[in-house]
């Protein structure tokens, strides 16, 4: 996804140092397109905008069944990115598992996330590996692979404190936190209509069902859910079961203009995944001067959503989310003030800074 330069009013700075030939590496789950893909595309665009020669390198990724997660990761190990078309590639930037398995003497990793099913999601309903010896060993092999391929990087960065802390906890590797700016959209504020917006891929980890529970608990609430994903059918069924028809709009995947418009009009944005890596959504909400409702276990969003300063942080229960949205509906001045405060926070996260840190010696 690319957007017009300057559409958010942020400046782009030409490269100060020499022109660098950079391969940005990102896996691609065919037919899926989420925050990680947007990030890799944007990074490539922003590098080009600063006069670097940048290319996005992708490979398809399928993480099941069984050992497929390893063989698919291994594909990256076979990719030769030392040079292309007879000229050396100066730098590779790996992003999400398993793209950082790529070999290169000058490898920087901007870690979006590890293969979470092998780490903190193991043993939860979002995990993938069973209790049999082969599954356990498979999970350990992912750890070992990560330890090798992340350990060999010249420089390790992470997209959030949450991701950096997970890396430190799981593998003992330290990474510098380099926050990525949100996608370039025509973020603006057209006021505060009476609906809550949810943006993101519809899978269980995004926990959109909490928002539906909130609607069930509070008959006045309305929401728009923007995004597609494997959990959509279940969520629609929940909405039907709780007779939420008319108060919930499943907007599906929306275009850039429509997304910016939804942000511009909503009262607030709901974003409460389980222990999320980072999450662009709060920044996008802030750039639209909207407060964010999140939960105390949301992970990355808690880096920026400050309770009662830029949004509300509540317990991960439907009635708590309902209470938070009710409170916002009843306090429009605070909604505006927190939205403006959020905008100040989001505007500090720039591509100039991110690229300077990624290319630092």
């Amino acid at each position: 996804m690319s957007a017009e330069p300057g559409s958010t009013g942020r400046e782009r700075t030409p490269a100060r140092g020499p022109r660098v030939r950079i391969a940005v590496c990102s896996p691609q789950v065919p037919f899926a397109h989420g925050g990680a893909e947007v990030l890799a595309e944007q990074l490539t665009d922003e590098l080009r905008a600063r006069d670097h020669e940048a290319a996005l390198v992708t490979l398809p990724f399928k993480w099941y069944p069984g050992e497929r997660v390893l063989t698919q990761a291994f594909l990256w190990r076979l990719v030769d990115l030392e040079e292309a078309d007879g000229r050396p590639i100066d730098l590779v930037i790996g992003t999400k598992f398993p793209s950082y398995a790529v070999r290169h003497p000058n490898k920087v990793v901007w870690l979006v996330h590890q293969f979470r099913q092998a780490y903190e999601l193991d043993g939860t309903e979002l995990g993938q590996f069973g209790d049999d010896p082969e599954s356990r060993a498979l999970r350990r092999a992912v750890h070992r692979l990560d330890r090798i391929v992340l350990g060999e990087a010249r420089r390790l960065c992470a997209i959030s404190r949450n991701v950096a802390e997970r890396l430190e906890r799981s593998l003992g590797l330290e990474a510098e936190v380099v926050l990525p700016p949100p996608q370039r959209l025509d973020f603006h504020c057209d006021g505060y209509e009476d609906f809550v917006l949810s943006v993101g891929r519809l899978d269980r980890a995004k926990r959109v069902d909490l928002l539906l529970e909130a609607l069930a608990a509070e008959p006045e609430l309305r929401c728009v859910i923007a995004g597609e994903g494997p959990d959509r059918t279940r969520l629609e069924e929940l909405a039907r079961r709780d007779a939420l028809d008319g108060r919930v709009t499943f907007a599906g995947r929306v275009g850039e203009a429509e997304l910016a418009d939804l942000y511009a009009r909503c009262l607030a944005v709901y974003y409460a995944p389980v222990d999320e890596d980072y999450g662009m959504v709060p920044y996008e909400a802030f750039l639209s001067e909207k407060p964010v409702v999140t939960t105390a276990d949301a992970g990355g969003p808690l880096d920026v959503v400050a309770d009662r300063r830029t949004g509300l942080v509540v317990e991960p229960r439907g009635e708590s989310v309902a209470g938070a949205v009710r409170w916002l509906r009843e306090h429009p001045e605070d909604v505006r003030a927190w939205g403006r405060a959020g905008k100040t926070v989001a505007e500090r996260v720039t591509w100039d800074h991110a690229i300077e840190r990624l290319l630092a010696a």
Partner: protein, 411 residues
Amino acid sequence: MKVAYFSPFPPERTGISEYSELLVPALRERVELEVVPRGRTSPARADVSLYHVGNNPDAHGWIVEALRRRPGVVVLHDFVLHHLVAGLTLGRGDGEGYLGAMQRDAGVVGRLLAHGVLDGVVPPLWEVRPEDFPLAGEVLEHAAKVGLVVHSRYVLERAVAAGYDGPVWRIPHPAWRDPGATPAQLDGAPVVGCFGNLNASKRVPQLLEAFARLRESHPDARLLLVGASSPGFDLESRTERLGLNGVIREDYVDEARLWSLMAACDVCVALRAPTMGETSGTAIRALVLGLPLVVSDLGWFSELPGDVALKVPVGEREVETLTAALELLAGSEDARAAMARAGRAYTEREHGLGRVADAYAAALEEAAGGPAVREAVLTDVATAAADVGLVADGAETGELAERLREVRLGG
């Protein structure tokens, strides 16, 4: 995943039984674990067996027998297993077994020496030269089929040098939690403590001599010696010969008393030469308590960071160096405090029980399912290669193999 756990446990008085008593509850939080009753050598119903092997034939003979019946992950607490092997062979009237073990370790010369032992013309090698004939070959051979756990780089290097080529994990000795024991009432200052069996290999003669010199500059210093005297080691005559005062003596003590005595010390001395490759539970306890350590510059002890332990080279000038170390620590409260801080931080970082139990769980899971995973990955990759006509001995498949090795996915 289920693990069968073979180890001595209290009331057996061995360092390894204390080790397992400490480790098992933490490991149980991570894997399903069955502690195998002492003496049961039949193969356990488990996904993987974990065998703790040390040099004491009474405590570990049955464990080696179980290992012979079903390979598993071996925790090699000592690299030198001569005493164990002698117990398993000569101790059971199996002279031929001992000859074979010695031949395996040291060729024809080893076999001839073993004959000398059998004939009574060579003194028992497990008493006089065990470090020259470690006899770890058989145990390492069984371990290579599944995996080996060592505590130190020293043992890892010796195992590899002995030809071990199986999976291996280095997992530090776990640290006990500081029980907050009330220090025992001991007169004098500083109090230098030495814990464990009293014998020549603990360098007690050198310690006595160095302590006598320390008393010249610190007449109130005390030397606390805790542990049973080994047969033939006459402590009394040695102290008399040195005209040494200030020695406080306690025989074997229980765990609570041990902590209380250690807490009363200002310095802990843990010397060892020759080393059998062991890790010292006493040294770990001392670090937990923030006691400055003085150790031999040998084996595992050499691997301790310089800011938590003063290291004394074995041999020439050993007594002088040891005296200088004791004088430094006796004379500087600041040095003792700095070592205490560093020691506590080091044990937390390197020997934390949770971290050690995590490492065991990882090793056991890799050992139990790792071969199947490697096989599955190799099959997947090899099938894809064969589908496009890459042959097993071609340059392209060589590249595949190299890349697989790099990330430890195959071979």
